[in-house]
Amino acid sequence: MSQPLLPDVAPPEDQTFGDIVWLQFKKNRVAYCSLWGLAGLFLLAIVAPLIASGRPFIWDAGEGMLFPWFSGLFDRNYYENPVDIFFNLLLILAVPSALFAAWRYRSIKAIGLDKRPRRARIIKEVRYGVLAVLAIFVGLLFNPHSEAYTQYADIVEARAEAGEATTAVFPPVRYMFRKTGFKSLESPSAKHWLGVDESTRDVAVRLLYGTRISLTIGVIAVGIYVTIGIILGALAGFYSGKVDILIQRLIEIVMSIPALIIILTLVAFLEKPSIFHIMLVIGLIRWTGVARLVRGEFYRLRGQDFVTSAVALGFPPWKVIFHHILPNAMGPVLVAATFGVAGAILLESTLSFLGLGDLSAPSWGQTLSEGYSSGAWHLILAPGFAIFITVSLLNLVGEGLRDALDPKMRK
């Protein structure tokens, strides 16, 4: 007769650190709702051409049926900016990839793996999926497709006057953000929900497409500086000694140059800054905070047993740094990155408000600067609130994340 060594209780649920943080985050209603708000904003950025585009979904002017909306999604003559091409790609891929992902999820589940290996498998496949999308995007960038610019809406009117029938199914708004020719500074009306700007363009459509610009700038600029910061911070924290001193000096030098001033100067000195220049400049200047954070985390973690054992097992330094220590140091970086996206969006709007941004991109700051020069209320309030809402959503998510990661806040 054998006595069980342990009382017969159910094994504790296998919770990863990520699970705990996520549960904690979900408890914070405001932050959780803000995350959904951000998702909504992102969705809005993706579906912008479904709402406003000068190209009809279906077009028949007596010469057979055409689908200009679809063929125009990757048209570099119509969407000049690679950012728009990328979001259009996401729009096209959204439904097929969701179906594909659902099918893959079911088949992985059918294998019957445990929780952790199943997750690893899913993460691996998601990684391949992201790489595939990026590969298609790069392919599209290097094979620019362009079509002659056609004013479909005008053709419909001209043909109607001539008494000819045209079959055309347009998106709800029949023009996109570059369309000019409306009454300058017209106040909001049923036709133009947020009015018309000084340069005779529809504000609502510009703000809609501006969502794409702002989100991209925020995410990519922060992506650049988080990468730089992680690499330098990890090197300084892991190796210490001379490497640390050198990197510390470098951080001190870059930190002492006022960020806004140097970013302003650099962007102004570029003859025609594109939004990619702006992202790059922000990314190259603002990495110091992340580097210091990562360095501190590495100092804290370096002496712990799991690191010692990884080193003792003979793993190469890069593997210890990136596979063993870094995942444990990512929490604070994630929080800093969330606040950083908000900061980068603010910076970009400041630049375009001062007239130093990318003039061809429909930036929110640009509309606000027209509001400043013309004094029209709708040009001040609409972009101002767009920036305010985006920035507060990001800040709220960042705060929620910080609280969720803080063991002191856990109950």
Binding site: R249, I257, P258, I261, I262, L264, E271, W377, P383, G384
Partner: protein, 483 residues
Amino acid sequence: MLNYVIKRLFLMVPTFAAISLVIFVVLNFAPGTPGGTAATGEAGGQDASTAGEQRESYRIFKEQFNLDKPVLFNTRFDLGRPEIEAELSAILNESGDVPPARRIEAQEDIENWGRYAVPGLLSVLSDTSVSPGMRALASQRLTFNAQRQNKNVFKKNLSDEERAEVKAIAKANAVVRAWSFKADATPEAMRDTTSEWNSWFTANEPDFSYTFGERIEIFFFDTRFARYWYNLARLNFGVSHVDKRPVLQKVISKLKYSITLSFSSVLLIYAISLPLGIWSSIRQNTLADRVVTTILFMLYSLPSFFVAVFMLNLLTRGTPLQIFPTSGFESLDTSQMTLLEYFKDVGWHIILPIFCGSYAALAALSRYARSGLLDVIRSDYVRTARAKGLPESVVILKHAARNGMIPILTLLASLLPTLIGGSVVIEVVFGIPGMGSYLFESINLRDYNAVMAVMLISSALTLVGMLISDLSYALVDPRITFE
């Protein structure tokens, strides 16, 4: 402590040098032409002589500001004939397939090489086997490149010696300027001019052969950066490319506005945020605390340029209200005012800028103050203070707040650079002629020296701010020492 301060101050010197190097390199390698487009002398559609004169005045402009020099290292003492010939043939464009951008670049190169190009040019000129067009161009270039820089020509109050030197250089340059010929000149004329040049070169030979020591000197010191540092060490930030006035003087004249603005902002921020933070932390989780925290959070997320434009439109332009003046630091005519009236006038002008420039920091600082106090309010020593029977106000203000406010105090140091540098956006929106708007103007006009000066001054202040921040920790918290 003193040792630590001295050590830090010494460490600051190399850091500052590195900062200046970074800024300098970044500015000088950035595209764009100094002095704005007006100075480039690219006059389209004008007759050749005016264009030539403009070109020459642009060359002298570059020479005066050291813009013809390489940025960091100078290897021009090694310029030989092949490089010169390549540039000359690009300018001549005999084959007709040189792109215009390359021609302009070649012309700039030859111009910037100055006297370093003389031996190479002379060797092209003396070689009878090259085309007459090339020889003519070489002779024309020589008339510019062989001239010596007349450094003191724009200086006021010259001494007699200096005046004599200026005259001598001008005379020598005038002689050299005459020795050129056109492509269709007779062979005799070409030969005569060439022999003139050759005899001139033999007379001035020592100027063009460089010893090893001279080469090292040229390599490191005949560069833009070395020249800039030479002046910087004498606190000479150079003169503005735009109006030729000393930059430092202009910066100092702008300080009055920025300091007034930032100083009152900082006072306001601390005067409101500390009490507010303490007030809301002792009412933690009450309705009042939640309302205040939410409002502060919203303020913190509101972009300042939006608030500035909003206030401007709401309160100054008469749409609908016109309470405050639209822009500027003071009224146009302040000469008739008494001191009190003047203060009132300035105050009236800067209320809005101060509000717009400080609400974000105010919100951030209040949040810091609140969480700083919450960190300590449950600690043992505060409980002990209460148990001793001290009144609540003493417990909070004397025991808890002093400890909880340490992080806030040190934040003051990080405000130092903005104290001088001002806020670009706020100053531009409200038309305050401070450092921020000066920087913005200078950036738009490509006034390198001005931008450099503002950046260097604010970087230096940031360094000082960091030191003060570290020191203030030790001053406030006796547990921290630097020994």
